[in-house]
Symmetry: C2
Subunit: 319 residues, 2 copies
């Protein structure tokens, strides 16, 4: 079985370059192979930049996740952050750290998944770094462009805002739970809401926006924390949180709490945003965004109950 | 002893935000704390992006490297890539992966070193990611801006070009060797040649440029590989490779080969570049770049001798 150590650092870089091909699109001035990549925005645009890592044993397990699915998620997590800013993708960089003993077939699978997502969502690989390490990690930096002053951010929620979410929640958590129960592979290929984010950035009356990566409650807490004008709390109606078709039945069969999964499960990569009362209704917003939108609650003035449970969701270094 | 696990993911992010302070400069539209950072270039500029990782046990050792020195190097390695492109820094993102058991004091030291370099070289921290992992790694993405069409790249060397280098080489390798022999800490705080790179990007008659991160021979090989118009080789005069004051004596005392260190030692972060015969001489270039410049050889047409030894220098996954 061939390993990373067999092809070596420069062999690996050449392998990545071959698989990625020459980046298309006028945004890439200088791609893989130089000290820095060079990207071009259009006049009047700012550059959005985000970084995220998937670590072996923490974010993925070779025995549970298909290599291509790991790669797909690594890229989608970052593209979703661009979507939450309203940016269009310009390009991405890969920092791969892995042991020399990593089977090349695993690496190739991860790369295939990353490049499939890169092609699907129009974000070419433009550079990166490979380094030997004791465990495998994939650190992806995604760069995008957004019209000046039109970006979405976490810090725009106000008391009175309606809380809305695209698509459905809980599907990723259900897929993970099912794989855990059955010992099978996780079958879930999330998509970043890039077109919806870009459309949202062009609308008036939008407050804050974040992508649901940690889980609805956890990410909503980020919006409340970042909101201005005094402490904010959320009135959420769990019954209105949209879930995938067949979700309740599947949860019942697996003995899972559907509400916990929908409110606490991460990695759905939907957009969670607030809108002023005067902004269009959920159906009209869904039409503009090209994706179903549900209204699930309201932002209110006041502190969250200190005695209440902490928001459900993913947290690093937590016991 | 407090650890990362004691402060948790969001406590750690808050700690980083506090230490970094609010980024200054008009280039940062949106800094730490949102889904993506937003950076602004000036009209007519492209965005340069580079990523590099320092991995525990591979690039640094807690018992040999002072935490602040590790952090400094993590940032300088990336800023040096921006320098080699001729870019001015816009901002950087940190992807930290570390075990929850990492002593907070070590993390604080690393962070202090990174932020010291960030301030010294005018590149504010604008975002990042923290993740639990089995080993510590610091993945830094640096973003810069360069006037369109004026960027330096690896791919500009031509037969007949003179080979030049800024500053001195071998100092970093000597410091590492000394620390290995004495069991002491590595004392070496390299600086990225940002001003020199930016000045070089404005000059005419410059061929290719790269920073000396892997070692002179290894990085020169990258320039030869990236050159156009048929295979290229380098005629290098080892006696003209500039070394730090007292370098030969120090090597002699430690029983080290000074030529091997100067030609093979990495992490000096000097700029290695080529210039057309008609470009100014080394002294005049040094004056324009604000740093000593030495001419050390010539680019020639023809293949490198296949029987010769491979270039000395750092390579990942090598035995």
């Amino acid at each position: 079985m061939r390993t990373l150590g067999d092809v070596g650092e420069f062999g690996l870089i050449a392998r990545i370059e071959r698989a990625a091909g020459r980046p298309r699109g006028r945004g890439v001035v200088l791609g893989i192979g130089d000290d820095a990549a060079l990207l071009r925005t259009r006049p009047g645009e700012d550059v959005a930049a985000t970084v995220d890592a998937l670590v072996e044993g923490v974010h993925f397990r070779w025995d549970r996740d298909a290599p291509a699915a790991i790669g797909w998620r690594a890229l989608v997590a970052n593209l979703s952050d661009l979507a939450a800013t309203g940016a269009r993708p310009l390009g991405w960089l890969l920092a791969l750290a892995a042991p020399g003993s990593l089977p090349l077939a695993r690496f190739d699978g991860v790369l295939r998944g990353m490049l499939a997502a890169a092609r699907a969502f129009g974000c070419p690989l433009v550079g990166g770094n490979v380094a030997a390490a004791g465990e495998t990690s994939l650190t992806v930096t995604a760069l995008g462009a957004v019209a000046r002053g039109r970006q979405l951010s976490r810090g725009g929620a106000r008391a009175g805002d309606r809380i809305l979410v695209t698509g459905t929640l809980g599907g990723a958590a259900l897929a993970r739970a099912r794989a855990d129960r059955t010992g099978g592979r996780v079958r879930h290929a999330p998509a970043p809401r890039l077109a919806a984010g870009a459309a949202l950035a062009r609308l008036r009356g939008i407050g804050a926006c974040i992508d649901v990566s940690d889980g609805l409650e956890a990410d909503l807490a980020h919006l409340l924390d970042a909101g201005a004008g005094g402490p904010l709390r959320a009135e959420l109606d769990p019954a209105r949180v949209p879930v995938p078709r067949g979700f309740h039945g599947a949860c019942r069969r697996l003995g899972l709490d559907p509400t916990a999964l929908a409110l606490g499960g991460g990695e759905d990569y939907e957009l969670l945003f607030t809108a002023r009362p005067t902004a269009p209704g959920a159906a009209a917003l869904g039409h503009r965004l090209g994706v179903p939108v549900a209204e699930i609650g309201r932002i209110r003035r006041g502190s969250r109950t200190p005695a209440g449970p902490p928001p459900r969701g993913w947290r690093h270094f937590a016991d």
